[in-house]
């Protein structure tokens, strides 16, 4: 089925020159960026411009929209960063340790234990969503930041161990042997050899994990009722519901400015670590 679908759109560009290829790629990339461009354009409009001149760039640009937006969403941004960073630290530590143990140590039941973790990648979240809510309810964790941090620390290492094991296996064994000869224990093998040499893997994992946390929506929507602890996705969702722009002229611009602000942490993350993310995905040759 898939080959039939792939055939027709692909035939023409391949017979064209490299130029045609570039044009087609640029076209697809531009199309994907249309909503983003519209978002940025709208974020600079005042109420009248938003009402009457929505799709052109209209001067003057109203930068103060960003200040109004920041006043509303700063707490959501802070909450999300806090929860994501604390969770990420836990995930990185546990994934590094787990990856090291499964890649470098030999012990009975190693493979069964490894597969007991990896099999969890195949359990769709629908089965646990409802009972997990009840579990957090019974533990009294609803409406606390732990309800957002614990699922990440507990669940994040599943993929993390998979990724870090593959990465740590690639470290030359001689490095470990010479360290062992010098009498290094498990902790120093992890901390002084594995950790510095697996930084690119940890970077890939950080990007994946942080993006997932920044995007998480349904779980915080149901577990956090106190808006002062709420995360950015749910915050923006609620704001988009309360500001009805066909009634309130002024609300359009700041709302879109808020959307832009919410994207900035991801932009920073990709500027700093995006290279590792791309290489991690391309060079690991992930498949099933």
């Amino acid at each position: 089925m898939t080959t039939e679908l792939q055939r027709s759109p692909n035939r023409r560009p391949l017979q064209m020159s490299q130029l045609g290829l570039h044009i087609l790629i640029a076209f697809l990339l531009l199309l994907s960026l249309v909503p983003t461009v519209i978002m940025i354009n709208l974020s600079f409009k005042n109420g009248l411009q938003y009402r009457w001149d929505r799709w052109n760039v209209s001067l003057p640009l109203r930068g103060s929209n960003y200040l109004s937006a920041w006043d509303v969403i700063d707490a959501y941004m802070f909450n999300t960063v806090l929860v994501a960073v604390v969770g990420l630290l836990g995930v990185l530590i546990l994934s590094l340790i787990g990856g090291y143990v499964f890649a470098r140590m030999r012990f009975p039941l190693r493979e069964p234990l490894y597969y007991a973790i990896i099999a969890l990648l195949m359990v769709p979240w629908v089965l646990s969503f409802i009972p997990a809510y009840m579990l957090y309810n019974n533990l009294g964790l609803l409406n606390t930041r732990w309800a957002l941090i614990i699922p990440n620390i507990a669940g994040g290492p599943i993929f993390g161990i998979f990724l870090m094991r593959a990465f740590i296996t690639g470290i030359p064994e001689e490095l470990y042997e010479s360290a062992r000869c010098d009498g290094a224990g498990a902790w120093s093998l992890i901390w002084s050899i594995t950790f510095p040499l697996s930084l690119p893997g940890l970077a890939t994992l950080s990007v994946l994990n942080f993006v997932a946390e920044w995007n998480s929506f349904l779980w915080p929507l149901v577990t956090i009722s106190d808006m002062s602890k709420q995360v950015i996705s749910v915050g923006l969702f609620r704001l988009s519901r309360t500001t009805n722009d066909s009634v309130d002229f002024g609300s359009g611009g700041p709302l879109f400015a808020g959307y832009v602000l919410a994207s900035i942490p991801l932009v920073i993350l990709f500027v700093v670590l995006g290279k590792f993310y791309v290489e991690g995905l391309v060079e690991s040759g992930i498949k099933m």
């Binding site: 898939t2 983003t36 890649a103 969890l120 296996t169 690639g170 040759g285």
Partner: protein
């Protein structure tokens, strides 16, 4: 799941010696366990967290699917009642039709579009531009998922949205629909979100697969006059079937279980026209407090998604590994 790197793991770590350690302890002796206390100690925090927060909830869900279950009230066993209720509910066939539609579309958008993008980038000769495109393809991911959906909701706005503005400007007034508010079009409008569906992760996964095809295979193919489209069909596609399989499984799980976009865009409406089982699960738990019923729907979705995964796993057989580097 496997990766090129993890295939090296076994040789580096002493073969597939599942139960034995290299020092020659035979099998699962007490001494072997004791000698390995360090490994178990290092793994124990991971497994403690996993058992409470990852293993336990799905098991609990599996059991409570057969109970009447609400917060603060002892659960009572009701047998298959929850499942019978769901299957006799008038809107259920409609919901199932919707996930079939979403599934067919999801397979196209999740498998085919990233493949086309990956092939286009793969055919680029300039190494620098190739690298640039690889980076550019992830730009849409810099916008949070919820923002993308909320933006599309604005694009669809019947009065203020650019889609209808554009149609009116082109004199196609009659096509300017209330995209998310009409029974027959709403589900397709939901699918259209994210157009042209060039998903960065999928594209990069394909590029990884294409990059691992050995140069000698391409040279041999070129000598036989197998280039361009012929090469894509006869060499590239068979050799990225491992990636196709992964993306197909992700697409199936996503189509069957995801309801976040629907919740935000239409909340199942207008009427029940965009309802899916996942959304019914969500509503019955958090609006009607029927957690047992909700768990039963979750279990059904899990079974459907797992069956789909198994079918794909059997159905798509990756080509010979020797053709890779």
């Amino acid at each position: 799941m496997s990766s090129a790197q993890s295939t090296q793991t076994d040789s580096a770590a002493g073969g597939r010696g599942l139960w034995t350690s290299r020092t020659g302890d035979s099998g699962l002796s007490w001494r072997a366990f004791r000698r390995s206390w360090q490994a178990y100690a290092l793994l124990s925090p991971i497994f403690i967290l996993l058992s409470i927060f990852v293993y336990y909830p799905p098991v609990l869900g599996l059991i409570r699917a057969f109970f009447r279950w609400r917060p603060g009230v002892p659960a009572t066993f009701v047998g298959l009642d929850n499942f019978i209720t769901y299957f006799t509910y008038a809107e259920t066939p409609h919901e199932l039709v919707n996930i079939v539609k979403l599934l067919i579309f999801g397979l196209f958008a999740g498998i085919v579009m990233p493949f086309i993008m990956a092939e286009l980038i793969f055919f680029v000769r300039s190494a620098a531009l190739k690298e640039l495109y690889r980076l550019l393809v992830i730009i849409p991911m810099l916008v949070p998922g919820i923002v993308t959906v909320l933006l599309w909701q604005k694009l669809y706005d019947p009065y203020l949205g650019p889609i209808n503005d554009m149609l009116r400007a082109m004199g196609l007034e009659y096509l300017a629909l209330n995209w998310l508010g009409e029974h027959r079009v709403a589900i397709y409008a939901i699918m259209f979100v994210g157009f042209p569906w060039v998903w960065g992760v999928g594209t990069l996964i394909y590029l990884g697969g294409l990059g691992q095809i050995s140069e000698s295979v391409y040279e041999a193919a070129a000598l036989d006059g197998c280039t361009g489209m012929g090469r894509v069909l006869r060499i590239d596609i068979p050799l990225v079937l491992g990636q196709v399989r992964l993306l197909a499984i992700l697409a199936i799980i996503n189509a069957i279980t995801a309801f976040q976009n629907i919740l935000v865009l239409t909340d199942g409406g207008p009427g029940f026209s965009t309802m899916v089982p996942g959304l019914t699960m969500f509503h019955s738990a958090f609006r009607a407090q029927k957690f047992g019923y909700s768990s039963a729907i979750g279990l059904l979705l899990f079974i459907i998604a797992m069956s789909g995964t198994l079918i794909i796993n059997r159905g798509i057989r990756p080509a010979n590994e020797e053709l890779r580097q």
